[in-house]
Subunit: 557 residues, 2 copies
Amino acid sequence: MATPGAGFWSFGTEEGSGDPDNPGTAKAWCQAAQKFTGGISTKLCGKHLSPRGIKLKGSHPVCSFSADLLPASEGEAITLAFLQDVMDILLQYMVTNFDRSTKVIDFHYPNELLQEYNWELADQPQTLEEILLTCRTALKYAIKTGHPRYFNQLSTGLDMVGLAADWLTSTANTNMFTYEIAPVFVLLEYVTLRKMREIIGWPGGAGDGIFSPGGAISNMYAMLIARFKMFPEVKEKGMAAIPRLVAFTSEHSHFSVKKGAAALGIGTDSVVLIRCDERGKMIPSDLERRIVEAKQKGFVPFLVSATAGTTVYGAFDPLIAIADICKKYKIWMHVDGAWGGGLLMSRKHKWKLNGIERANSVTWNPHKMMGVPLQCSALLVREEGLMQSCNQMHASYLFQQDKHYDLSYDTGDKALQCGRHVDVFKLWLMWRAKGTIGFEAHIDKCLDLAEYLYNKIKNREGYEMVFDGKPQHTNVCFWYVPPSLRNTEDNEERMNRLSKVAPVIKARMMEYGTTMVSYQPLGDKVNFFRMVISNPAAAHQDIDFLIEEIERLGQDL
Amino acid sequence: MATPGAGFWSFGTEEGSGDPDNPGTAKAWCQAAQKFTGGISTKLCGKHLSPRGIKLKGSHPVCSFSADLLPASEGEAITLAFLQDVMDILLQYMVTNFDRSTKVIDFHYPNELLQEYNWELADQPQTLEEILLTCRTALKYAIKTGHPRYFNQLSTGLDMVGLAADWLTSTANTNMFTYEIAPVFVLLEYVTLRKMREIIGWPGGAGDGIFSPGGAISNMYAMLIARFKMFPEVKEKGMAAIPRLVAFTSEHSHFSVKKGAAALGIGTDSVVLIRCDERGKMIPSDLERRIVEAKQKGFVPFLVSATAGTTVYGAFDPLIAIADICKKYKIWMHVDGAWGGGLLMSRKHKWKLNGIERANSVTWNPHKMMGVPLQCSALLVREEGLMQSCNQMHASYLFQQDKHYDLSYDTGDKALQCGRHVDVFKLWLMWRAKGTIGFEAHIDKCLDLAEYLYNKIKNREGYEMVFDGKPQHTNVCFWYVPPSLRNTEDNEERMNRLSKVAPVIKARMMEYGTTMVSYQPLGDKVNFFRMVISNPAAAHQDIDFLIEEIERLGQDL
């Protein structure tokens, strides 16, 4: 480590950057910065006024450092100039983000990208000009997840109100554990979770819930609470003190159910995967058969995790039939609606989740189908108070019992997390800005687009659907069969060759940067494309483009 | 739910807001908005130009909705105007955040705040003017966590470069699970974690790690990995297949160790709390005694979680002695440096963590002592590959094995989370902007301020220190003894009255809004103040103010 000067806070001044009257060696530092235009150096170096018209003390060219920003004394002008420059970079990115003539991705292999720029961390500070340049560079290589032709993940798009709310959240820079330090956000979480429970159909929106860091953690919370409900002694005594538990979920369910079981000490062997029909929906008779089987072995079935919107097929498990079975065998019913929960906002599509009101807990990720910026995942629980009993440890330095306000708003002890990021404000502000009908229209539009894609390719030459029938969610799963493989015999050799088609097309998409869509194998089905649409920017022309692009990139295979 | 029009995306146009040439009923919608000045309505309603000088089509007053923003066609001007207005609100907040003449908090009881404003979610959208007003309102009631006199939590302050980085992160809106969709951020995580491991002292920065959603989850990950290292079969077979495990941590350690044990099916009874000395440091001989005791009972000690910087006292456990014991009994050594890890950046103070290089895993939260915006917590693991083996589930739709780039950069399967928020960029950008010496100077300054406070009150009338000697971290723990309790007999009645002093002073601080500092009881010690300093804005005058304020608010008690 190099020897620092008299310390960081005097560093700026020593180098002449803190005090415009005393430029010191600032001129040398400025050399690199001078080549940029429109940045802070242009605004503050050699000008009397900052962009906000706040007069600076001197008139010498000055290069600025992080130490010159607020809370440094007289840091206001330079802070406003710096943040305004950042803002301009972000606005510029945003506008190109939605521009169909720009690339979705400027792909570089990891080793290339590591060498393209010096990303290393050093002892000495960089100037704010360099920091601005770095921001531009980071965005240059970013994937444009809001681009109309970015279809790669379940979370796509960039909502402007959600973004504004996220900026505000960062600026407020607080923590959800107590009302004391996040009064507004804690109340908005309360209001929003109640509204979500109402929409699920729990009377009066009663119940409990929390925003957690993602659907996998929400699902793990559900498993944790279900176990605690049945065997509360597990909290103190551990799994050694209770019978062997078994959880049930479909073979198409999200891998987080198994991850949760591994983490909670239940073990992945105790997660029974229930068979699905050809559409990817759990088969209730198989569920019941496996529950009976587990009981006969002396195990205790404690959780069924049904899926509302599977990751690959977008399938909705038959919730009513599953609820009946859960009731019959007294098993906690969880619905993983991370992906499909958003359809509850649509009067046209919510029937697909009929029966969800009978669930004991629901995972619902507004950052997926509802287009809220990452991350925003809710776990909703029907029984109030259970989360608190399950997770609380009564840390006296956070949850003092002699505070002067209603302690029920101190929600931190409901979670495994201590500090918890504010994830609610962006959802809440978007909801205010769009209204429920705004989310509804967005969801209806995305499902319409998926149907448009399905109708377009179902009988088109060179396409084979992975499953028959109209998509229930926006997932459209298909193989593109290049000319050389059409009319060939359906044997292992063909499957082998077909399995290589999607990866090659995907790699070419990324190299050209024109679009991105996901692919994967599933069970005995070789690599196929999984198209999903959650991006508000996507339009019919983008679906048309995707088809043309797949054909352009795959015709020689 | 009200009946929507022809759908959300045409709603704006129907109401005349999407097309300035066709104002429709926009005038009525504008009425509420007209009363605000400086907002979008002023800029776009009745003006020909947006603030960026982009000419709008018409000249009628127009009120805008979320549906008019990008990606709506012709949404660019209104988007820029809207985001610029948001930015102005944030900049204004930021400047007052650092202004000592403003309140730290404008306190309202939960029921008051619920009634103060209509926070409810509705079917219909609100105008962008209303959204801007809402942003102002949310900030009005926010706690100014960057205020020079906010000392309430371990995370305080608001770093401008960190904030800019967080805004950029929100704008990039992506997910850490694969290189494919977060190339820059994944590489920066790699670079930053390696640097942190170097600083810990692991040769060449080798090892593994991840940014997780907070210190509690990082600690839980450590426990999960330690268990897996000793009994890899636990992943499939659960706790039923392995012996009874025991973990050890000090009685002053963070409650997340117990939370983790409860969640992982180990049980809180299997967390043995080791006694601390009067400064809050774990007593190594007691640790060894309890390990031997556990083994004699046939249990398997698998984890010692030492604390580097306890939450209340700021104590550093003797890591070298603990490392010797862990080595002797072959136990995983974890160091919870969530709070104290930052001291590794200071050549003056890092000796307090001597021995950390012998740990198997380390939690280190840059969002605490290093002032990175919330949240930013790292778990570092010495053995490479263990996190992956422990947590991976090989989801084929995310971690395709036939991708065209080096798959070792797809880090998602190391975590329990599937989606993972980008927490690294703000730390990385701050590091570039400050340099290591910048973090060092910040930490040295905060520790100097803590010593200043300690020196000021240790012999001052009306103060009693909770423990003797100079603080090792920035935690200064003390009782304020009001005049009526001075020179009274040290009995239960006095303790009883003393226990009520801090809560009353704290409640008054919040009602006046002048400052915030935490209090809590600990063991047999009744409520005392715990002062912590991590805020770069804090100066000697703020420490002086705190003392005066405590005396002003507490003299009549």
